[in-house]
């Protein structure tokens, strides 16, 4: 029995080792080397790449990435909670609505991000419509700024918030809400004192699922953002492409990973203590 179990684990263990641990080890080694002239890496070993991380430019970008990912997570929560609650209460239509939430995944993320460019640019749908209706005289600056990046991130990652929220909200016993009303709680008080606390696991899961990919996003800021809205993902991407500085790119990647892991672990520990 035990041996059989091990056999079944083998494919997963092998692929994790080959596709996750080994590349991670390579990145670690690269981050401790010098850049090659045409890209690639060269000896000798050095910690210079990590020292460069403390440059205010990179710290600033890292901070802005955190703020951006945080804002996107908050926006996803504010938009996703009512939606998830609605779906959880939709009775027979629940699975239809859930499918609708997932439908965007059928198309490539790249294509969907381009679609936002067509919507938001000066001659895009939104500006054209507003101009035609006479609400504005000149096109609004909707593209190539933080706003556009935020819209792109929220649009891209909203389903990752809605699905775990739906899962916890659908499990909440209706009789608890009846009890709350019976005990004098108005609907919004029930929401605050019963629904939100009981949905906490879903909120946490959704927040993690949205925050982490948003923090590392590079496609969205690259296409929808301007030069001033660069995020840490773009920094990493540039090191491996135009800047040809693989060691520094590796160091930035690992630093971001370390910060995220530290935050997550600290948070999980606090949650555990709260529950005990």
């Amino acid at each position: 029995m035990t041996r059989l179990r091990l056999y079944f684990l083998t494919p997963a263990a092998l692929s994790l080792t080959l596709l996750f641990l080994a590349p991670l080890a390579i990145v670690l080694v690269y981050s401790l080397m010098n850049r090659g002239v045409w890209g690639g890496v060269e000896l000798p070993y050095t910690v210079e790449n990590y020292r460069r991380l403390l440059d205010p430019i990179y710290l600033g970008i890292l901070l802005r990435s955190f703020l951006m990912a945080g804002a996107a997570t908050l926006a996803c929560l504010l938009l996703g909670f009512p939606l998830a609650l609605f779906i959880a209460r939709a009775g027979k239509r629940q699975s239809l609505y859930l499918h609708l939430v997932i439908v965007p995944f059928w198309t490539s993320f790249l294509v969907r991000t381009y679609a936002w460019m067509f919507l938001l640019r000066d001659t895009g749908l939104v500006n054209t419509a507003l101009l035609a209706l006479g609400f504005i005289r000149e096109p609004l600056p909707l593209l190539y700024n933080s706003f556009a990046v935020l819209v792109g991130l929220v649009y891209g990652y909203l389903p990752f918030m809605v699905l775990p929220l739906y899962a916890t909200l659908a499990k909440i016993d209706r009789s608890l809400l009846e009890a709350a009303a019976d005990l004098g709680a108005r609907p919004w008080q029930s929401l605050r004192r019963v629904i939100v606390p009981l949905a906490a696991p879903g909120i946490r899961a959704g927040a993690v699922l949205v925050f982490i990919p948003c923090l590392g996003a590079y496609l969205t800021p690259d296409l929808l953002g301007g030069s001033k809205t660069i995020m840490i993902g773009n920094v990493i991407q540039n090191q491996f492409t135009s800047s040809r500085d693989w060691p520094f790119g590796s160091a930035v990647s690992l630093a971001v990973m370390a910060v995220v892991m530290a935050l997550l672990l600290g948070w999980l520990r606090r949650e555990k203590e709260r529950l005990l």
């Binding site: 009789s175 608890l176 009846e178 709350a180 019976d182 005990l183 004098g184 709680a185 008080q189 906490a200």
Partner: protein, 323 residues
């Protein structure tokens, strides 16, 4: 005196069936009032209509003489003890009990929670979560959560049904003494006739969305107005149109005298129940009857020919039925 709660012609229809069919009743202040009936008779729906968790199709609900039919559940001065208790799993016992007080802007929440904890004997458990409580403790916590608000009427939806047999009997006694102490009107929904008989000042027996009879426990048991009430409150032998309870059905080897009715019968079996025997017999006309025979009487063997008899004054009669 104005009744604390009054229902007038209350109806609730669902597609395909009528759950509550024009019921009217009036509950005096301080009463322990029971709605008794089989499952699906509409008693829980009635309770939910009073709590405001369902909207009636017609009829009115009056609380202390004022119509509350248009009020939302959180605006009504009644509270419910739910059958599954519906305790908030993310709150401690203390948090659950204090839940409703926080909406009333009461300033001595802590003191009232402590007093209520004491009342239901849950002192020392205030920091436990519902998942850490036994069935009986959950029941008390649910009671306390509603009682602390001092509602005009406390609605109890089969509050003892989830407990095991022994605990149920114990909680039954506690519930009664609790009601006397807090002096709050209880409207108690149950399908257990023993519970209703032992607890209530007054019982409304429901069947298929209607009230069949309202009366004191002795009255509905001894003078049921319909066959349904007679049968639901206890066992009945139906002999040629008359109903006779097993404890007033007698068996003897000689023909008894006086104002009695007698039928020849054959004993089929005799079961010892500790405090009495249940003798099953079949009348010559083929009708089966059960007689509760005291222990010190003669014992009867199966196959024995006997006389089944009862006093005419013990017969249950039904003025309202033609069946």
């Amino acid at each position: 005196m104005v009744p604390v709660l009054e229902l007038r012609g209350l109806s609730k229809r669902y597609p395909g069936h009528t759950a509550v069919d024009g019921i009217s009743l009036s509950i005096p202040r301080g009463a322990f009032y029971s709605l008794l009936g089989p499952s699906g008779c509409g008693k829980t729906t009635t309770l939910r209509l009073i709590a405001g968790l369902e909207a009636p199709d017609s009829g009115e609900i009056y609380l202390n003489g004022e119509s509350i039919s248009h009020l939302r559940p959180y605006e009504r001065n009644v509270n419910t003890v739910f059958q599954n208790y519906a305790l908030f799993p993310h709150l401690t016992v203390e948090g659950n009990i204090g839940f409703g007080l926080r909406h009333k802007r009461s300033d001595d929440i802590g003191r009232r929670v402590r007093e209520t904890l004491q009342l239901v004997q849950l002192e020392g458990k205030e920091n436990r979560y519902p998942s850490e409580l036994s069935g009986g403790e959950r029941q008390r916590a649910a009671l306390a959560r509603s009682l602390v608000l001092e509602p005009a009427v406390l609605l109890l939806d089969e509050p003892l049904a989830a407990l095991d047999q022994k605990l149920r009997k114990q909680m039954r006694a506690e519930l009664k003494s609790l009601q006397r102490r807090v002096d709050i009107t209880f409207l108690f929904v149950t399908h257990d006739q023993e519970e209703a008989l032992s607890l209530s000042d007054c019982i409304a027996v429901m069947n298929q969305g209607r009230i069949e009879q309202i009366g004191a426990p002795q009255e509905v048991y001894l003078r049921p107005r319909t066959r349904f009430v007679a049968g639901f409150l206890g066992a009945v032998n139906w002999i040629n149109g008359a109903g006779v309870r097993p404890e007033t059905t007698h068996i003897s080897r000689v023909i008894p005298e006086g104002d009695v009715r007698v039928c020849p019968a054959t004993v089929e079996s005799s079961v010892f129940l500790g405090n009495c025997f249940h003798v099953e017999a079949r009348l010559a006309t083929g009708i089966p009857v059960i007689a509760e025979v005291p222990r010190h009487d003669d014992t009867y063997e199966s196959g024995e020919s006997v006389h089944v008899w009862w006093r005419t004054s013990d017969e249950l009669t039904f003025e309202h039925e033609s069946e």
